[in-house]
């Protein structure tokens, strides 16, 4: 077992209860710096709650959790967070670069002085850099409501990255994207993870678009949580134990994994409005 202080995220027997109901428990997790980890599980199992626990927005009911070497919430300035969300309103007349810029200084009070101050030049340069990093330069100056969902998602990832976080928390960033865009955004996140050395924790509904890139997965279920390499976690034996009901993991000829028997509603978008 690695040393807890060196890990980006380290959990021992962590559990969360909301309104007296245990959401998940027994979570042991070690995410090293620069790793790409996926959080998986059926609807309503508390994937977003895990992200909120990492941010310190939801307290633990048992166990210990350290984030970036401190308590959850202590080093939030070093975390870039992209909540689960719907697309922007089509009529929203604000440019993509402005949305990215809000991630940099949108929480500051007061209005910036007009003129080309040094701070503004630095800010403009940082926004341009990060927009370039997510390959969004071509459409970043168009109104954000008018660009596609995949393009919006890239700009939101840029917004989460603009303050140079050490840890990136992405809650279902592939949700509501079509398959080619899911693959492209997953590849982009993986590239950022490696090139920038950012630790990435991504909540995902379907593991397949990110399977080629992830180092570890965390599978949440009603019985607890299992963390480890995808090949060890996403197996019939492990998932059957986690859910307490027979589950079969099938591998298609192209390498895609299909989990059969998981207690989950069939509709793909069923948990889009979930806010546990």
């Amino acid at each position: 077992m690695r040393e807890a202080a060196r890990d980006a995220i380290h959990a021992r027997g962590a559990a969360v209860a909301l309104g007296g109901r245990t959401v998940w428990q027994g979570l042991d997790l070690a995410v090293g710096q620069g790793e790409f980890v996926a959080v998986l599980g059926p609807n309503g199992v508390g994937k977003s709650t895990l992200v909120k626990a990492i941010l310190g927005l939801v307290p633990l009911s048992a166990g210990a959790l350290s984030v970036l070497g401190g308590r959850p919430g202590e080093h939030n300035a070093g975390i870039g967070y992209l909540p689960q969300r719907r697309a922007f309103d089509a009529g929203l007349r604000v440019r993509g670069v402005d949305v990215v810029r809000l991630g940099l200084d949108g929480d500051r009070w007061g209005v910036p002085l007009p003129g080309r101050t040094r701070r503004r030049r630095d800010a403009d340069a940082r926004v341009a850099d990060v927009v370039n990093l997510v390959d969004a330069t071509a459409y970043a100056k168009r109104p954000i409501g008018e660009i596609s969902g995949g393009e919006q998602q890239r700009l939101l990832i840029a917004q989460a990255l603009v303050r140079r976080p050490r840890l990136l928390l992405l809650d279902e960033p592939l949700d509501s994207l079509d398959l080619p865009n899911q693959a492209a955004v997953a590849a982009l996140v993986s590239r950022i993870c490696h090139d920038e050395g950012v630790t990435v924790v991504m909540v995902a509904h379907d593991v397949n678009p990110i399977l080629p890139y992830v180092d570890d997965v965390v599978y949440l279920g009603p019985g607890g949580a299992v963390a480890g390499a995808p090949k060890q976690v996403i197996t019939s034996a492990t998932l059957t134990r986690l859910f307490g009901t027979p589950i079969e993991v099938l591998q298609a000829s192209d390498g895609r994994l299909v989990v059969v028997g998981q207690p989950e509603p069939p509709a793909y978008h069923a948990d889009r409005h979930e806010h546990p």
Partner: protein, 298 residues
């Protein structure tokens, strides 16, 4: 811009003479002072209102001003206090309604609608209680620029300055919260407090605008300039500045036109704003038409 002058008006089409005539009377100077304050406040707050999709709340606040003003007149304490008092209370009531996310939205608009209908009914009652007031109803609903006193201008100026000062301090977090409340909240922006503060600002501004354009025509200054500017540019700073500029121009033009014609100011301000809005949307449509062909491939 063509101003259809009444035969009896003294419009000479000589800019210098006409401008001098316009400011010859103190009531007209006060009308321009009040109009300028109102136009700036309405432009700035209206820009955020359009961005936040709170036009329905804005309209309800405006209609609440009507019973406020009618009730205050009936009690003999001055319409302005009724406008400000009722609009502020209504803003707090709307803020107290359950809101956020798409599921709550219809519920919230139903609640706002309830407030709106009740306000109109109360206004009607107050008007009938105060019998001699019937001539004033037109002014309350459709605006008037006659007889604005120095004291009223001062009240408008103070309230407008307070609203703008709050906007200067809270503008950037408010923009963040308006564009993307979820992420703003995660970044530590007090989204709920800002939402309440904004509704209060909206209530105060609507109360100001009502005193010039009347309660039914507040959107002339609150929605049209902002909608026109946002159609023309998606840069926040530019479109906010453009909104205030459009708001000022249509207010000044409306005051001038109303002075030289027998028709009410509300009609002119609204028509000029509508013309600007129509021109802006047409420009945006023309600009967008060849878009997909020449835009770089994403």
């Amino acid at each position: 811009m063509v101003v259809v002058a009444d035969a009896g008006a003294r419009l000479t089409w000589n800019l210098v003479t006409d401008t001098r005539q316009l400011f010859a009377f103190h009531f007209m100077v006060n009308a321009f002072r009040a109009g300028t304050v109102v136009a700036v406040a309405a432009g700035a707050i209206g820009w955020f209102m359009v961005l936040r999709r709170q036009a329905f709340a804005g309209h309800t606040l405006a209609l609440v001003g009507f019973p406020g003003a009618a009730g205050a007149t009936w009690l003999g304490i001055g319409a302005a206090w009724g406008f400000f008092g009722f609009c502020s209370i209504a803003a707090l009531s709307i803020a107290a309604l359950p809101h956020r996310d798409a599921r709550g939205y219809s519920e919230q608009s139903a609640g706002i609608g309830v407030i709106q209908a009740f306000a109109l009914a109360c206004g009607f009652l107050f008007v009938s209680l105060y019998r001699g007031f019937l001539n004033g109803v037109n002014a309350l609903l459709f605006g008037s620029f006659l007889g604005i006193t120095d004291g009223q201008v001062l009240v408008l100026l103070v309230v407008g300055a307070v609203a703008l000062a709050v906007l200067v301090v809270a503008g950037r977090p408010l923009l963040f919260a308006s564009v993307d409340p979820g992420i703003a909240e995660a970044r530590g922006v007090p989204v709920r407090v800002l939402s309440l503060v904004f509704l209060l600002l909206l209530g105060l501004t609507v109360a100001e605008v009502s005193q010039i354009t009347g309660t039914l025509l507040v959107f002339a200054l609150l929605v049209m300039p902002a909608a026109a500017a946002q159609a023309l540019t998606a840069r926040p700073a530019s479109s906010l500045a453009l909104t205030v500029a459009i708001s000022l121009v249509v207010t000044w033009a409306g005051l001038g036109a109303a002075y030289y014609s027998p028709y009410p100011i509300g009609f002119f301000v609204t028509s000029f704003a509508f013309a600007v809005y129509a021109a802006a949307t047409a420009t945006a449509a023309v600009r967008r038409a060849p878009g997909p062909n020449i835009a770089p491939a994403p």
